[in-house]
Symmetry: C2
Subunit: 158 residues, 2 copies
């Protein structure tokens, strides 16, 4: 951990505190850094924006992508005040930054009644063992569109 | 699968096709249904909106929550044209619908070069074995804010 890493994490933690104090949502903050500069900021806004996906990391990734005009965070570092939940970790994989730092753990989040740890346990389970009843239907009809995608010549891949 | 389930899935698959044909993003669509009515729609808009989190399910959940004025999809059913990736599955857990149907599998998605299956394999790995280098720093500073949250009297939990 460099002095710069420390300063960036202090900034992410400060966002977690500000968002909480302003009643925007849970106590979570994140920033995206590229070439030593902050290019995106986010804090949890679930309850204030009626958006269950408005976690700190998702919000910071969206902000950074908007600011950079891209859907890929190449060469970026994400600093999050807490270990990303599976949704946010998935978002991070899709955004493809080069590195991730976090402060609090998923167990720390569970201690203040957030479901992160529970969701981490659900994701790897076979579908018929998960708590949200789930069923696969009409696979063949769905795959028709995937085949159309495979054959599409002007597609933008990611 | 009821006839109604079939009709709703046809709608989700049609959204996947429309979004692809309009070059909005990948071939993925989803809808949210409550009391037999569609309350949210979404298709993948990653490349057209420069938002790596704009998957069909996330977009549909955000639309439904906006329309219903809530951050919880109680008693809702989600129909997705493809098995949700871990980001979307996490979003679904946070939104807490009562049921999930999907058509294509994660393997079908992998066959047309989407990373869903890869990310499913990464999420359960110990942090030091994942492909995005990850480190925990400054846990103590982060937990200070969690303790402030625990002690906060006017917080809105979710």
């Amino acid at each position: 951990m460099t002095e710069q890493d420390k300063q960036f994490m202090i900034e992410a933690i400060q966002l977690s505190r500000n968002g909480m104090q302003n009643n925007e949502g849970g106590p979570f903050g994140a920033i995206v850094v590229k070439d030593g500069k902050i290019v995106g900021r986010g804090n949890n806004k679930v309850t204030s924006s009626n958006d269950p996906t408005a976690h700190a990391e998702v919000t910071a990734i969206r902000d950074a992508c908007k600011n950079l005009g891209t859907f890929q965070l190449d060469d970026c570092i994400i600093y999050s005040s807490c270990e990303p939940c599976p949704m946010c970790l998935g978002a991070i994989y899709w955004a493809r930054p080069k590195k991730l730092y976090f402060a609090c753990s998923r167990e720390d989040a569970a201690n203040i009644n957030f479901d992160d740890d529970f969701i981490y346990k659900e994701i790897p389970l076979p579908i018929d063992q998960r708590q949200i009843p789930t069923a696969q239907i009409m696979q063949e009809k769905g795959v028709e569109v995937f085949n159309e995608w495979a054959a599409k010549e002007d597609k933008k891949e990611y």
